[in-house]
């Protein structure tokens, strides 16, 4: 769209039009000429004019009549008018359209300076109008964006508080149960074995809460572009083996046997803590949906660096949901509700993006799901 302002000159005498055009000519203006009121109206219907300079003295339709007609149409009623007239007589004030918009007069013989000054004023007016329109558009967009951010934040808070209630429910139930047991069975009930189990259970729930809160913090950092990375050299296969060993008890609880297949001896420069987060996330998901069937965790070399594969034999993920699971707090409906903040895979994706890596899922309903992580070598230190 041209940023030139369009001005229409209306005069039945061609010579006058040419003379006027010479006076009005400016770099920021496009001049259109019309030799009658009818022509002018036709042109005004299909183009947007910032200003109309109209000769009053015209046959068939004079300047005032043209102006009245312009005022009668929505498209043209706001176009500022400058009447060009030879006399300053009373007849000039026969025009009745003053309230409807800017009106001005130029007296013939035309003074170049007067013409330029008046044109200037109207051009500036139009420029002002355009800027306002742009600003309004920008404001509306900003408002929409802010509303969206607020919505996302609200939903996040709702989901976070909901998810935190599960471990809290468990802790509360246990606390109340123990009180009752103390009353009913006395302190003898609390043997060292019982208490050890109690403390372990508590620790597990507290771990869950911590994990959820860490996820929330990660999300907040990701949103503000501040997800921190600390690269270090480590052996990918060894890291995964070590991770699985450290979390043996947790994995035993889920009753999904893990099969480790580490055929890579690759050493790379990655964020160890974050990649552990990725693997941990994938394994816990596999356990949640694995239906107690074995889970395969593989680490392989690839052309670009390392590959981590986590495969479960649960119900699988429907094709229409396979992209959704990587979105922020996306919950997959129709009886396949994803518990947890629905953040895990989103965070995993962001971590891998920060490593210039990727994650893909391959799955068929009824046939489990395979998550493939590509971790290319980085040159960052």
């Amino acid at each position: 769209m041209s940023s030139l302002f369009k001005i229409i000159l209306v005069d039945d005498l061609k010579d006058n039009l040419i003379a006027l055009e010479a006076l009005v000519k400016r770099d920021d203006v496009e001049i259109i000429k019309a030799e009658s009121g009818e022509d002018a109206l036709r042109l005004m219907m299909t183009q947007d004019f910032a200003l109309a300079l109209i000769d009053v003295q015209m046959p068939n339709m004079n300047g005032f009549e043209l102006a009245e007609l312009m005022r009668g149409s929505n498209k043209t009623k706001n176009i500022p008018l400058i009447f060009v007239t030879a006399t300053a007589r009373a007849q000039n004030f026969l025009f009745k359209g003053y309230e409807s918009g800017a009106v001005d007069f130029l007296l013939k013989p035309l003074d170049a300076h007067a013409v330029n000054c008046k044109i200037n004023i109207f051009i500036e007016l139009e420029r002002s109008k355009r800027e306002q329109k742009d600003l309004l558009l920008k404001l509306t967009q900003t408002q929409k964006n802010l509303e969206q951010v607020a919505l996302v934040r609200d939903e996040f808070m709702a989901i976070a508080s909901h998810e935190l209630k599960t471990p809290l429910t468990s802790l509360k139930l246990q606390a109340q149960l123990r009180k009752r047991n103390l009353q009913k069975k006395g302190v003898e009930y609390f043997t060292p074995e019982t208490m050890t189990k109690m403390f372990n259970d508590d620790e597990r729930q507290l771990q869950r809460i911590t994990h959820l809160i860490d996820d929330m913090l990660d999300i907040s950092r990701i949103s503000s572009g501040k997800l921190s990375m600390n690269f270090e050299q480590f052996n990918l296969g060894d890291m995964v083996k070590d991770l699985v060993e450290r979390n043996q008890e947790l994995f035993l609880q889920a009753e999904c046997p893990i099969e480790l297949d580490i055929s890579s001896s690759i050493v790379g420069n990655w964020d160890r803590f974050r990649i552990e987060q990725v693997v941990m996330n994938l394994i816990t998901n596999a356990m949640r949906y694995g239906q107690k069937k074995p889970i395969l965790v593989q680490v392989r070399d690839s052309a670009l660096g390392g590959q981590i594969i986590v495969k479960d034999n649960g119900n699988g993920i429907a094709i229409e949901n396979q992209q959704k699971i990587f979105l922020r707090f996306e919950r997959v409906g129709s009886g396949q509700e994803i518990t947890g903040l629905g953040l895990g895979l989103y965070i995993v994706k962001k971590i891998l993006e920060a490593h210039k890596g990727s994650i893909q899922v391959m799955s068929k309903l009824g046939d489990g799901a395979t998550f493939l992580v590509e971790l290319p070598h980085t040159n960052d230190t």
């Binding site: 209630k165 809290l168 429910t169 468990s170 509360k172 139930l173 149960l177 009752r180 994803i338």
Partner: protein, 126 residues
């Protein structure tokens, strides 16, 4: 102690399931457990003579969620749906939107005293 009707608990969180089982067993109720809606349906099909006095069902579970379970229950075991007191357990605060009739709501985290009262009312009294 009066003859008790059994309690069915449908909840995916292991720790909550286990705590509820400990609690109700401690009060001498017979407890049936299921990890999700599908497992509960299967269990009821196997134990065909069982009509729980009380069913506690979580809303958010993998494989088959609470609402789907209740719909299935109404279809496959209409007698149980009618006779058992059904309580939906939820952490959500906007569950008044539930459209299923005769279903009560109990919010998480719950009070054992309240559970005790509910079990007494629906499993012991005639």
């Amino acid at each position: 102690m009066l003859p008790c009707k059994p309690i069915l608990i449908v909840e995916d969180d292991r720790a909550i399931r286990s705590a509820l089982q400990d609690f109700f067993s401690g009060e001498d109720y017979t407890v049936y457990l299921a990890e999700h809606g599908q497992a509960a349906i299967n269990l009821l099909a196997l134990e065909s003579t069982v009509i729980p006095g009380l069913i506690l069902v979580d809303l958010m579970m993998p494989v088959m969620d609470g609402i789907t379970f209740l719909t299935e229950l109404q279809k496959k075991h209409p007698l149980i749906y009618e006779k058992s007191a059904i309580f939906v357990m939820t952490a959500r605060t906007d569950v008044h939107k539930l459209n299923l009739k005769a279903i009560s709501v109990i919010k998480k985290p719950f009070e054992l005293d309240e559970l005790s009262r509910i079990a007494l009312k629906y499993c012991q009294e005639n």
